[in-house]
Symmetry: C2
Subunit: 308 residues, 2 copies
């Protein structure tokens, strides 16, 4: 087992100014697993669904190396369901409906062969659930955690306890500001790194992503896209590509984290091109390489410092 991911596996209903999708498969762990499967072939997924979850999607995940021994299927219950509507700018959204359903019963129990996984991705979930996963893994080389403002509002103390135990925290810019109480992202990063993580990733959607260590910072742009159809799952896809690349290369240096950020950004850009996971199911490693090259070109410049 190379990577264990805990997170939601769900149905989404998505409305954007440009279209809608009625009931598509989504959930953080779905996006993360699909994205990391481009780099790994032994992936463990920990989550819970109802018996309404489509078998062919499970087969599809298995076909990509995702071991579903940690996916509990609760008979007679329904899968987690989320509905949201994006604003015209596609950067902000309103939640229209949340039916937790089986998520209320999520009590993660890792199969024995998951416990020694060197890479662990804690998808956005109740920090108590994230902590339970950490309690069960034996000695991970790297733990990446995603979370959201919801838990900062409702479970800050539990959240901080988990943050103290992870290597890399991923949040968006508003969440970094909320968590730290600092407006400046530089100051926010310093405060958050003092809470425990060695690195902080700040996701800024169409404005790219920042990577902070104690003394370094790296910025990766988002690719300007001709059409953004649906940003749902882009942050999870980013995280999946990021940790997938790290787990494949097994190099946790700042320079390699920068590469992982670019790979994650490339995958996230694909995610936005169709509703749900559709685009992730179409692309190949060659497509990813081609897109990484677009990122290289996008920010590439050479300058000699001007002399008087």
């Amino acid at each position: 087992m190379q990577l264990v991911t805990v997170g939601t596996v769900a149905f989404d209903r998505i409305e954007t100014p440009f279209g809608k999708a009625d009931k598509v498969v989504g959930g953080a762990a779905t996006y993360i697993s699909l994205a990391s499967s481009f780099f790994l072939d032994k992936l463990g997924l920990v989550s819970v669904v109802g018996d309404d979850f489509p078998k062919d999607m499970m087969d599809l995940l298995r076909g990509r190396g995702v071991d579903l021994a940690g996916l509990e299927v609760l008979q007679g219950k329904e899968s987690f369901f989320w509905a949201g509507r994006y604003h015209y700018d596609m950067n902000s959204r309103d939640t229209l409906e949340t039916r937790l359903n089986v998520l209320l019963d999520l009590d993660p129990k890792l199969p024995e062969h998951f416990k020694a996984a060197p890479y662990v991705l804690l998808g956005n979930l109740d920090p108590k659930v994230q902590a339970k996963v950490l309690d069960q893994v034996t000695d991970p080389a790297l733990v990446v955690m995603d979370t959201m403002n919801f838990w900062m509002d409702s479970a800050l103390e539990d959240l901080k306890k988990v943050i103290a135990r992870v290597d890399i925290l991923c949040v968006n810019d508003a969440e970094a500001r909320q968590l730290s109480g600092e407006h400046s992202l530089v100051k926010a990063a310093n405060k958050i790194l003092a809470m425990g993580p060695k690195y902080l990733v700040v996701k800024k959607g169409e404005h790219g992503a920042l990577l902070f260590s104690e003394d370094r910072v790296f910025f990766a742009p988002a690719l300007p896209l001709e059409d953004i159809i649906d940003p749902t799952g882009a942050g999870d896809t980013f995280a999946g590509g990021f940790i997938g690349y790290l787990a494949r290369t097994q190099d946790h240096s700042f320079d390699n984290l920068k590469r992982a950020i670019i790979v994650g950004s490339a995958l996230a850009s694909f995610c936005c091109e169709k509703f749900g996971v559709e685009r992730l199911l179409q692309i190949t490693r060659e497509d990813i390489d081609h897109r990484v090259q677009q990122f290289i070109d996008l920010v590439d410049f050479d300058i000699e410092l001007v002399e008087d």
Copy 2:
């Protein structure tokens, strides 16, 4: 004369969540001229002020190579005054007060020795005024134009006529979307370039800047700053650094425009560190070089495309 700039020379009252400045010298042409003066020593400024405008600021501009023969001083009248308040995110602001004062009398007449200037910067102003400047220059090698949503709302036809006559248009992302009627910045850029300009610069404040040509795109980040004190004038400072670098190097290739974007971004980052023009008056060419190096480090990565 290397560069002629037309734009406001004004007083600003600025409030931010972190402090305020009561009546400081501002105005687009002031910021542009100060920024470009790091690269040029024969600058012409075209504007109008009242007799309340401080003599020592005029001397200071002259000391930096800014020829004020095109700056009309109207006796018994007051200079343009703008007051604004920034929101907590420092990316958006409300205008609290605008006193046009002498700006109502701005009828630009270029001194003879300004007319052959190879570089022209049209700062944000009524497009009719911008057009009058273009009518008077003989054969500029490069014309850069800045504008704002205000003119898109109130003088769109005049604005489009000027846009058709310039080489490079600078607007922010919301303005690019408004001007083109396209949400996607890629599509917006295509439509705007079809209006006439060869290049489009999309300024995104703390999220950096994009440069579009017909078939290429370049992204420059903004530097994550420890403290943003006052973003007023950052866009003008960017434009001034951008055209100053181009006028110094006299190379209008896409690759050199990328360098100019980085130089403009570096200058804009300084501008935000103090109220008004204060920081621009403190820094040296060495400081700028040092900051350009920070931009290089910020986006630098090397990646070999992953092989199976």
